[in-house]
Amino acid sequence: MTISVAIVEDDPGFRDTFCTVVRGADDMCLHSMADDLPSGLELLNLSAADVLLVDLGLPSGSGIKLIEQAQVRWPQCDVMVISVFGDKRNVLSAIRAGAAGYLLKDTPTDQLAEQIRVVHRGGSAITPVIARQMLNLLAKQVEAAPSGGASGGDKWASAVLTRQEQQVLVLANKGYKYEEVGRIMGISRHTVMTYVKRCYRKLHVNSKTGAIYEAQRLGVVFD
């Protein structure tokens, strides 16, 4: 089955590269393209794509808005943000907005397709720094959890990391790759990626409750 991929990117060079990659891959097809935020939002009127790539630094606005909209309009779509340096601030906000992964612009073209496939399969890329930030975020959120509020109780509970997820983040933070993490923990690479994706989800879920956003906004999280 082919993976339909949409891209919202203002840099024509990368758009070309991307198109080349997609055309070159058997299992992928190009869904749609946009070069700016408004036209990107219009894309959402079409039928959903499988994977959406969004550049955060769009001329007329941040791609975060697009990501948030995509969560609403295309719930089944996996969103990846395109970043130059993978700087954690933007990536983290993208994850909070609901992105499932990110892509570095200077990724070698042969890896580009694979990464798209990975995210479609349910895995997520993670950098050590982001892993550490997620650990901090979710740990602080556990401390700040209200003691047994009725409405937010379940959501808080689900936001807590399981021991496995925590260990995955810790090892990722130390620079181990997924295979190594799997080897150390005795699980498959795929399981590791699933754990990471779950962490992302928890971050996204918590961001919806607004608590972590507040903590982050106040600068509590970023050391």
Binding site: F85, P128, V129, N173, K174, G175, K177
Partner: protein
Amino acid sequence: MKRNALAWFSTKLLGGGLLRVGLWLLALPATLAIVFMFAWPEQPEPPTYLRLDTVDRWIEPLPGDTTYDLSGFKAAMARSADFSQARWVSIRLPDFLELPTQFSAKLTEPMAMAWFRFSYTVPPDARKEEPLALYGSRIMGGAYSLWVNGELVAAKLDDWRMQWSYPVFLQLPPHLIKPGQELEVALAVPYRLSQGYSVGSLYFGKAHELRPSRDIRTFFQRTLPTVGMVLVGLMGALSFLMWLRRRVDMEHLWLALLSVAVVVCNLQYTHEFSVNDAQSAWFSYIVDAAVSWLFLLFVVFAFRFNKQQFQKTELLLVVFTVTNTLLTMPLWDWQVNGMRLQHYLTVVLYLYILGLMTWLAVTHRRFEHWMLCFAIWTLFCAGLFDITYMSSQITPDGIWVFPYGAFLVFIVAGLLLQRRYVDALNQIERSNIHLSRTLKAREDELMAKQAQLVHAQRQQTLLMERERLVQDIHDGIGSSLMNSMVSLRDGKLSPERAANLLRECLDDLKIVIESLEPIAHDLSSLLGALRYRFGDRLEAAGLTLVWQMDDLPPLAWLDAPQALDILRVVQEIVSNTLKHARATEVAISVTVGAAAPDAAPFVLLSLKDNGKGFDPHANTSGRGLKHIRARLHRIGAALTLVARQGQGVCYEIRLPITQGFEDDARVRGNASPALGTSSILN
């Protein structure tokens, strides 16, 4: 006009003058009440007592054996009134003989009795409950007795030597009050011929009408001086106690001594020593001497208070006073004669002193000088008046003013001292305020300087960091780009080579950015991120990476500059391995170790390849080890290089955990950098 008055009144009231106005309003009736009480007796009807302007006088000589002592006076008083030989002369009261300049102390002296006779008709409305009395301002010269119709009615022997400050008040017994009866009243005053007598105005009438006059006179002549004397004595005692605590302020001592002099001077108004001849003589002597001492002390006080240096005058005055005191002691016979002479001499000297003080006041024009001048003039005049008063040169109907002069002197001295205190206190207050202001200003200055310093330090730190960053970028990326540009321009750069160069620049940039990421002293994050970025590159170059990262404690010294150094070191080492080692595997491990069980732990970062190695004794300058060592030295780390030909290279970097290690490393860092299997410290 009306508005002005109103405005004035309102400002007085509203401007805090309410109290003042109230006080004034109270003071007026209070004053009136006091005056009323004293000067105005209660009776609404006019007084009915007689003022005896004209009386008959007869001087009766006493027999020659009457001695001038208590028994003699008693005998004189016991003689009955025999007016058969009397030769009455009509005289006006007050009647007084001036006291001679010399009078002797001989016991047997011709004496006489002065009789003063007048008639009084008892008014028809007189009652036995309202006794009659004779009131007089004073009778100087000793004792006196009252005879009515030839009968001795009253006698007074207190202070028979020199009675001078009690008013005369002799009450008639009630049985003599027969309305309509004519009374023949005679007052007898014994005296020494050489001494004379002094009788003031006499009044005869109802006792209760005359009593207020007596009371007023008693008050001003005896009560007030006594009270004043006691108060001055107390204040003097206080002043003395104050001097004891602060010996350097001599003015307190002078004031205390002054108070003693005032008290002694005034003793004559409250005490008498008529009984014993010697006692009486000594008492008078002491009191008289006290007057000159009072003067001396006040002058000394005045000079010292104003810090005037008139040592000669002071000396003169001291000599005079001492001489005076010695000469007038009742040991010599002629001291009594010299009493008035003494007083006149005193006057001359004192006039000189007074002139001096007035001159001082005029030239200095300061409040203290004027006050002292005023006080001493008052004292002098009071003394002068009292001398004439005492020597019966003037009517005896006044009161003694010297005590008041003495009080004034003391009060002035006390007030001046008090002024000085208040000024000192104000000065202290002012200087306290000034000090606290100055202190506050200094504090603010200090804090501002502190803030400046902190700011400057921060700027300095930022500057240094910036410089290092710039230096790093310049050396790394800058030079790469420059070279590529040159090569490209000269056509010596292939696209592939260009792509590689650009990739290297990008890597450098990423490393710098990575180093700036706040990592909260976490080395594992730092190195993990590094691996993440470049791990794939290594794999692509055919180098298998074996990665091991243990749990690390936070490293206190690990900030952005240090992070950059570590990243560069690892980058350099890895790039060396890529270029020279021809290895297939690189093992990078980060563990925590300790040299000995009780030694400080450290973090061991080791990079080991399985390449061909190199000869440690060969020239290794091409490998950039100098840079590596420099960077490691900067962060306080130590590099151990283990290299053997054909067995790969192992870089062992020991990183400190706490700051202390860094200082030790810097201290130790002068060992020779020889390569080889031995441990090498930077």
